[in-house]
Symmetry: C2
Subunit: 324 residues, 2 copies
């Protein structure tokens, strides 16, 4: 049995799963309602102890994903969207409390670990996941292993530059991919198009910037709202061009798109694939597929957290580990 | 003993080295003077047999690097700058002739393998090499292994887009990195600046486009020719911006610049580092060094070919191979 924990800015989710990724218990609680680390940890410890009591000594370990968490150190470092500041050594804390192996990683990596442990990527050695949420998260797997980088900071595709002097990003720079391709980017694009077309006869004209959500744009697009459809078209174009560059760098077998925006289906996948095909080198023709996540969207991250610790215990057999 | 072979468009180099990378025999012959595969192979076989006779059964294997060579298949596939067309199964051929293990890879990967086997990267698990020649080659090492990709086509950084509708590339697209950052890119930039400044009082005004070489620009820059210096400044700016994106994707410990252009020293490294620092996310501050290759420029590729086969026989011990 493996316990997965996904600490998000709003909600912390827990899931206890067997080695095939079947949950025997799931729960969640509000992260945002705790303003100090110690209060949050008390709540978390309580949840863990309650869940683990169901399986006793069958627990093999705990996997944790959190924003700004570093797998090399096991520390959550000044996460911008958690309600407390400073450093939290979550690995050290849980190992002491639970006396079992604990692995920690950046939450952007969870979908990739979920896909490689329980999903369509079980048979893949080289693939990428792109998570479209408030920002854009990315997990890169090469030679069957997650590319963590020297400081555990690899996979920050959301911050590659796609436009000089482009949109202002939360990181302080301009033109980062996630200012165009994410739930927030989708909203920014819609408002840009409203400005360009002086309205544009969209049902979304009535929404305030504050209140509009990516879900509303997705639903409007699925109902045929032309401005919402064009918003996805533009988003897909920017994403597809960036993926053409990513193909050159890591040559993945597949690119999985994860998150609520992927519900838009062909409205997102169509323009993304078209821009990718138009931009990519001809030698990469038909080399990588853009696919929806193979796992349920609400479970993919928590499965990733379970997979993180399951991998530690049962490493995948690798064929050619010498050099490539 | 390991035999390394670096098949280039102009010259094929061979080197027989011990496990510390010390050559006991080196040789080279003109690739360009053979217009058919069979003539080339006859010449190559002759050289190999002559060199191997020096060490007899101490030969552990042969490593080969060549343009458009695929390490998964061992085949050289329609290399644009070799004098013959079609497919050459160089791995199959040499295994049959020499009855020893043969490993083949794209020549762009050789410097990375050289650095990790015999150079400064022996202690690194995550690093990148950038080779500046006619084009721009790149080798990416993550988790101690070369990132080859699903089809053996990873590391083509030379073809990422740095400018929409930019310079025409040999690949048929526009704005590829190597049209700006390479020996050829250097010459293109110099001529662009000659046009911009209507001359510019450079000693290179006298050169024809056909005759001008990157070496001449490098030497002029080292003598203080202002237009040549500005050419390096522009080249470094484009490279530094691209490396800022590469840091985000693979988070390397170091980036090695390989090739004759690196002789320009601070004239290239200075603007590259400045552009990198200006473009990168603040969290990547001081995280990766841009370094000159630690191996002699004329030996780095052939050492890489030796390292390719040495790795197969003596895999580096890896500490954490489970997931990351």
């Amino acid at each position: 049995m493996y316990l997965g924990i996904d600490i998000g800015g709003t909600t912390t989710k827990l899931g206890l799963a067997d080695s095939s990724g079947r949950f025997i218990s799931e729960n969640s609680f509000s992260t945002a309602s705790y303003s100090s680390v110690s209060q949050f940890l008390s709540a978390l410890d309580g949840e863990i102890i309650r869940m683990v009591s169901l399986v006793g000594d069958q627990l093999e370990g705990i996997g944790v994903g959190a924003p700004s968490a570093n797998y090399r150190t096991g520390v959550i470092e000044n996460a911008a969207n958690l309600g407390w500041k400073g450093q939290l050594n979550i690995k050290g804390h849980l190992e002491e409390i639970m006396k079992c192996p604990v692995m920690v990683t950046n939450d952007a990596n969870l979908p990739a670990i979920g896909e490689m442990t329980y999903g369509a990527a079980q048979v893949m050695e080289n693939f990428v996941t792109i998570s479209l949420g408030t920002g854009l998260g990315c997990g890169i797997v090469a030679n069957g292993m997650l590319v963590g980088g020297h400081h555990g900071m690899a996979g920050e595709l959301g911050h590659v530059n796609v436009k000089r002097d482009g949109r202002l990003c939360g990181c302080g720079r301009r033109g980062c991919l996630e200012t165009y391709v994410s739930a927030t980017g989708l909203k920014r694009t819609l408002f840009k198009l409203l400005a360009d077309y002086n309205g544009g006869q969209s049902e979304l004209e009535e929404c305030t910037y504050e209140s509009l959500s990516a879900d509303q744009i997705t639903e409007a697009a699925l109902r045929g709202d032309q401005l919402a459809v064009e918003t996805f078209k533009y988003t897909g174009k920017v994403l597809g061009r960036t993926l053409a560059d990513l193909l050159l760098i890591t040559d993945p077998e597949a690119i999985f798109l994860v998150g609520g925006m992927a519900r838009a289906g062909d409205l997102l996948f169509g323009p993304t694939t078209a821009a990718l095909n138009e931009s990519k080198m001809t030698t990469y023709e038909n080399k990588a597929e853009i696919l929806p996540s193979s796992l349920p969207p609400e479970k993919v991250s928590i499965l990733g957290a379970c997979g993180l610790i399951q991998h530690l215990n049962q490493p995948k057999e690798k064929i050619n580990r010498q050099l490539h």
